[in-house]
């Protein structure tokens, strides 16, 4: 009887101890293993390949929590801005016909420096830096 009780205790204690240690170590080991996307992209985002955007066109890219507008002005010239209109937060777009950034909501227009040209927007668009690395376009916040 005594032996049985002893071995029950031993099993409970030993088994419980081992299992509990495993349940602590398992998350810790998983934690140390870096996730697939190791970088928290905060200040920099890829704008895709240079071939993907023709001259005098623009496209919307997600930058952090807000949309950004990447514009290929010519073969060699690129610019990028926050795509959030400063009037009422609609998403702006590039107009190749007018070489301007336009907001469909209330007809606001910005030039390719982000400055307001006409319409209701009260402030210019925040400009981002664009760097072409090889055949990849990278947009980053200006510090």
């Amino acid at each position: 009887m005594e032996q049985e009780r002893r071995s029950v205790i031993r099993w409970l204690l030993g088994g419980g101890f081992a299992a509990s240690i495993a349940s602590f170590l398992y998350p810790a080991i998983k934690f140390i293993n870096p996730p697939d996307m190791p970088e928290a992209s905060v200040n920099e985002v890829s704008g895709g390949k240079t071939q993907d955007l023709k001259p005098n066109t623009g496209k919307i890219i997600k930058f952090g929590s807000k949309p950004a507008l990447l514009v290929r002005v010519s073969d060699t010239e690129w610019c990028a801005f926050s795509a959030v209109c400063t009037h009422l937060n609609c998403t702006v777009q590039y107009s190749g016909a007018r070489h301007q950034i336009w907001c469909a909501c209330h007809n606001g227009s910005y030039d390719l420096n982000g400055k307001v040209v006409s319409g209701p927007p009260p402030a210019p668009l925040e400009e981002y830096a664009v760097n072409v690395r090889g055949d990849e376009v990278v947009i980053s916040k200006r510090t």
Binding site: S20, F24, P27, A28, K30, F31, I32, N33, P34, P35, M37, A40, V42, N43
Partner: protein, 358 residues
């Protein structure tokens, strides 16, 4: 419990080189007095255990955290969303921090009410108070690290209070903030405090504090003096019970982390306005609310200054407790100390609640 080791065993090999048998001898004789208040003896150990949890989870978080204003919030978000079990490690770290400070206060008050501060344990008391201060420092510095709106403004308010101290205040605030305002420099500096300076000091003080506890043994309450109290062996009896308490604490932490995960908040915006109803973490609520109540000027002295002076006096009085608690004959003024302890506890609890609900 046998204290000798079998010849030729691993134990005897280690013993010859490390002198473990002396440790075993000591451990075998360590006892805990048994009386109605024995349960309070657990709280020092629980605080130490929670501190160990903080170190372990903190080291894990260090693998992903980035201490700069542009990346801090995002790295914590990364930990919470992308790192496997990141939510668990981070939430445990935040919950355990609060629990540790709570148990540290319980431990301190239990020492007061059981009068364990009395001769020859005065230095243990002093080192314990320094450790409490370090724990609050850990809390204050760690709170800023996620760099969200609440933590940014809490730090601003806290360092502003430091600045209002006369003569040295502005220098102290500058030293804390790493500059004139709370900003990136503050974050880097607080990170340094939190992961290097405070842990270093805490380790030192812990060695002193724990060493002294071993030297003097567990104290018995004054009303047991003259009586022979039954004792329990620390190893294995009390320690097994402590393990149960520690396991229970782990269960509580895990449950809190899974059921009430610590929130991310919104990223700090130094140019934005403070969120309405901003207040510090609960362990700073009592002094915070007290300062709110003091009018802006009392007989030409600035109210905030008066409040801080008051806190300084209170702290000094509390630190010197073992000395004023003993009369010229060496007897302890237990009634006075118990009264003071109840008063302080009542003040802290009441004002913390008021600070929370008002």
């Amino acid at each position: 419990m046998a204290t000798a080791t079998r010849p030729g065993s691993l134990g005897s090999w280690l013993d010859e080189r490390l002198g473990l048998s002396a440790l075993r001898e000591f451990a075998a004789h360590k006892t805990v007095p048994l009386h109605s208040a024995t349960i309070w003896y657990y709280f020092g150990g629980i605080t130490l255990f929670l501190f160990t949890i903080q170190v372990l989870t903190g080291v894990l978080l260090l693998l992903y955290y980035r201490p700069s204003p542009t990346e801090a919030y995002e790295s914590v978000q990364f930990i919470m969303t992308r790192v496997q079990f990141g939510w668990l490690v981070r939430s445990i770290h935040s919950w355990s921090a609060n629990l540790m400070i709570f148990t540290a206060f319980v431990h301190m008050f239990s020492v007061v009410f059981l009068h364990s501060y009395r001769r020859p344990r005065e230095i243990t008391w002093l080192s314990g108070l320094v450790l409490l201060g370090l724990a609050l420092g850990f809390g204050f510095s760690g709170y800023l690290l996620p760099w969200n709106k609440v933590s940014y403004f809490a730090t601003k308010v806290g360092t502003d209070m430091a600045a209002s101290v006369p003569i040295a205040g502005h220098q102290v605030a500058r030293l804390l903030r790493g500059g004139a305002d709370v900003g990136g420099a503050t974050l880097t500096r607080f990170f340094g405090f939190h992961v290097a300076i405070l842990p270093g000091l805490t380790t030192l003080l812990l060695v002193v504090h724990l060493g002294l506890v071993q030297r003097h043994g567990m104290s018995s309450p004054p009303w047991s003096e003259g009586k022979k109290l039954a004792q329990m062996n620390f190893f294995p009896n009390f320690f097994l019970r402590e393990l149960m308490a520690w396991y229970a604490a782990l269960g509580v932490l895990g449950s809190l982390a899974a059921l009430f995960p610590w929130e991310l908040g919104e990223k700090a915006d130094p140019f934005g306005s403070a969120p309405a109803g901003i207040r510090p973490e609960w362990y700073f609520l009592a002094p915070f609310y007290t300062l709110k109540l003091i009018p802006s000027h009392v007989w030409r002295i600035e109210g905030e200054l008066l409040g801080l002076m008051g806190f300084a006096l209170l702290a000094a009085w509390w630190v010197l407790l073992p000395f004023w608690a003993t009369n010229s004959q060496g007897a302890v003024r237990t009634r006075w100390v118990t009264g003071a302890g109840v008063a302080l506890l009542a003040y802290l609890v009441t004002f913390s609640l008021l600070g929370y609900f008002r």
